[in-house]
């Protein structure tokens, strides 16, 4: 198929502004600003069924409609923190198709009445930010950003901001704290950012991929967008495929594409002829899907969308599909994920801060073969007692792989832990 988001795969030089323009670039922005009312755009996005691509899958248009009309300024903040292990799609969009992304951010600014948009990139994306800054300067030069756009009263300015190495800054309220020059720790919610956001003002926060869809939706309308994907999960999605597959990479496919198609058709199957053992469809935060002889077909035929992945005991999340083959044991996998969460827990709340420390003690001991099944059970209860008690979702995320690994792959633990 042709791409909506990864258009550079079809038009390699699209990151050149002239090439972008020759291929319809900025026409959506112009249409939005000159021929549409902000409310109309919000309605169109609602109708398109576009759901947030940052992980939670919240309907984008609905989120926009929460901004109060009585308090100004409004801000748009684009979440380009992309730190979930196994996710690398936003980076490709920003590197290779930057103008479409920036056009999307500008459209969202207009739609929600914001004159300023911040793009919060993880600190590691330093070159990407440099590149975006150059693109923004080019757009300003050519009149696609700045004041009196297309002869209207509308002003829109975009700015990049670099984080400095903290996964938690992908959580939207932690991101705002960080952008305000504070430690990136989540805020209490409510109030939600739509009401009290950046600098205490109403703020829309959307993921890079989410916003990159907007030029297409404005151009083709909600119906045009709905020709891809499913009824409840319309549109295409970039699946970041990594791990033990022959051809890892980003694949933009309609929502509802099966695991089989992604892993075997596009990903070229499992490396070294090994057997598929487990899938983490939402990065390190996944509930791990077990794939064995009995479940293989059921899992492979599961459509990857916000609803159906639940049927195999997991969630789509940001669609960072990590494939694990049968040479790996789950005690190793969860030790890796807990190393990650222990490192990234912001430390603000007790269960996540102390729970991840405790879990890491246990996963290390188990993986090193120094544990008994009693320790494995303890690990499971520690995860269970953290779940649902944390201040933000990171704490819950950290327990997912642990609990499902212990539950669904008992033999891996019996093997290393022996029987007590």
């Amino acid at each position: 198929m042709t791409h909506i988001l990864l258009r550079h795969r079809d038009i390699p030089d699209i990151k050149n502004i002239e090439v972008y323009k020759q291929n319809g670039g900025f026409q959506s922005l112009q249409k939005a600003l000159t021929a549409m009312q902000p409310k109309q755009i919000v309605e169109e996005v609602k109708a398109s069924g576009l759901r947030g691509r940052g992980g939670a899958g919240f309907p984008t248009g609905v989120k926009w409609s929460f901004l109060p009309d009585t308090i100004f300024p409004h801000y748009v903040v684009c979440n380009a923190d992309e730190s979930e292990p196994g996710t690398f799609k936003d980076r490709e969009i920003m590197e290779s198709n930057p103008y479409q992304f920036l056009e999307g951010v500008a459209i969202s600014c207009f739609a929600v009445g914001a004159q300023e948009g911040y793009i919060y990139l993880r600190g590691e994306f330093y070159p990407v930010a440099q590149h975006l800054d150059a693109c923004i300067a080019e757009m300003e030069k050519q009149g696609y950003l700045g004041d009196n756009l297309f002869g209207t009263q509308t002003s829109i300015r975009l700015k990049t901001h670099l984080g400095a190495g903290a996964y938690i800054c992908g959580e939207e309220t932690a991101l705002l704290e960080s952008l305000e020059g504070k430690r990136g720790q989540p805020r209490l919610r409510p109030p939600f950012p739509a009401v009290v956001g950046l600098y205490g003002k109403p703020t829309v926060i959307n993921n890079v991929e989410t916003l990159s869809n907007l030029p297409y939706i404005v151009e083709h309308g909600s119906a045009g967008y709905r020709q891809f994907g499913t009824e409840k999960s319309p549109g295409t999605k970039i699946f970041s495929l990594s791990g033990n597959v022959n051809k890892p990479g980003n694949y933009e496919l309609p929502l509802g594409t099966t695991f089989r198609e992604l892993i075997f058709t596009h990903g070229g199957g499992i490396q070294n002829g090994n057997k598929l053992r487990a899938i983490m469809p939402a990065g390190a935060s996944s509930s791990i899907i077990r794939v064995d002889d009995q479940t293989f077909d059921k899992v492979m035929d599961t459509p990857m969308d916000y609803e159906n992945v639940q049927n195999v005991g997991s969630l789509l999340g940001s669609a960072s599909v990590i494939v694990i083959d049968d040479t790996h044991s789950m005690d190793w996998v969860i030790n890796k994920t807990i190393e990650f969460f222990k490192h990234e827990s912001c430390g603000k709340c007790t269960p996540c801060r102390d729970g991840n420390y405790w879990m890491l003690q246990l996963t290390e001991k188990i993986h090193a073969g120094h544990a008994t099944m009693k320790d494995v059970q303890l690990l499971d209860t520690v995860a269970a007692q953290m779940y649902g008690k944390c201040l933000c979702a990171l704490g819950d995320f950290s327990t997912m792989a642990v609990r499902t690994a212990i539950d669904r792959f008992p033999e891996d633990f019996e093997k290393v832990a022996g029987k007590a």
């Binding site: 992309e82 730190s83 979930e84 292990p85 196994g86 996710t87 690398f88 936003d90 980076r91 993880r122 600190g123 590691e124 994306f125 330093y126 070159p127 700015k159 901001h161 670099l162 984080g163 400095a164 190495g165 903290a166 996964y167 960080s178 952008l179 305000e180 020059g181 504070k182 430690r183 990136g184 600098y199 970041s240 495929l241 990594s242 791990g243 033990n244 890892p248 990479g249 980003n250 983490m280 390190a284 960072s320 990590i322 494939v323 694990i324 790996h328 996998v333 890796k336 994920t337 990650f340 490192h343 990234e344 912001c346």
Partner: protein, 165 residues
């Protein structure tokens, strides 16, 4: 040497970017890290004064984010991702061999002060493992689909460039 003397234009540009002064703290910390790869207490004090903050408030930021460093290390930091996706594609082995070849352990710096090797979490380069980022002061570059040989060539090139300075 103060930041405002050393980088007057950049400091102004940073201030111009945000409606609130405090937001400038992160970009200013990167500036402070540019030359020597770590942030000295004097820089924290200067930034605090510039932003009308207490030095402790600035230090709290330095401490929170893993890309800010408060201690001197190598001019370049090779930060290898060994997180789950990369590890599934051999990142741990890559790191081990790289350390053997360079002759230092993770966290250590070569005797000439050129490179420090560090292990980091996912860098969003999962499909091109093994990979690492090279942190040089406030700058970062990605090096993907790496082998130990290619990395050693890079280190040599850095060493040469450094010697020429």
């Amino acid at each position: 040497m103060s930041l405002t003397n050393q980088y007057p234009d950049e400091v102004q540009a940073i201030f111009a970017k945000y409606p609130s002064r405090r937001s400038a703290v992160m970009p200013l910390l990167y500036l402070a890290q540019r030359e020597e790869g770590y942030i000295k207490k004097e820089s924290m004090e200067e930034i605090a004064a510039l932003l009308d903050l207490d030095t402790t408030e600035v230090a709290a930021i330095v401490g929170f984010y893993s890309m800010y460093h408060d201690e001197k290390a190598g001019k370049y930091r090779i930060q290898v991702c060994t997180d789950i996706s990369c590890a599934l594609r051999g990142a741990d082995t890559f790191l081990e061999h790289l350390c053997d070849n360079i002759g230092i352990k993770v966290g250590e710096t070569t005797p000439d002060g050129l490179v420090t090797i560090e292990e980091v979490k996912c860098l969003a380069g999962c499909d091109k493992a093994p990979m690492f980022q090279l942190q040089d002061g406030d700058k970062v570059s990605y090096h993907e689909n790496m082998t130990v040989d290619k990395t050693m060539e890079l280190v040599e090139a850095l060493r040469k460039a450094q010697a020429q300075k």
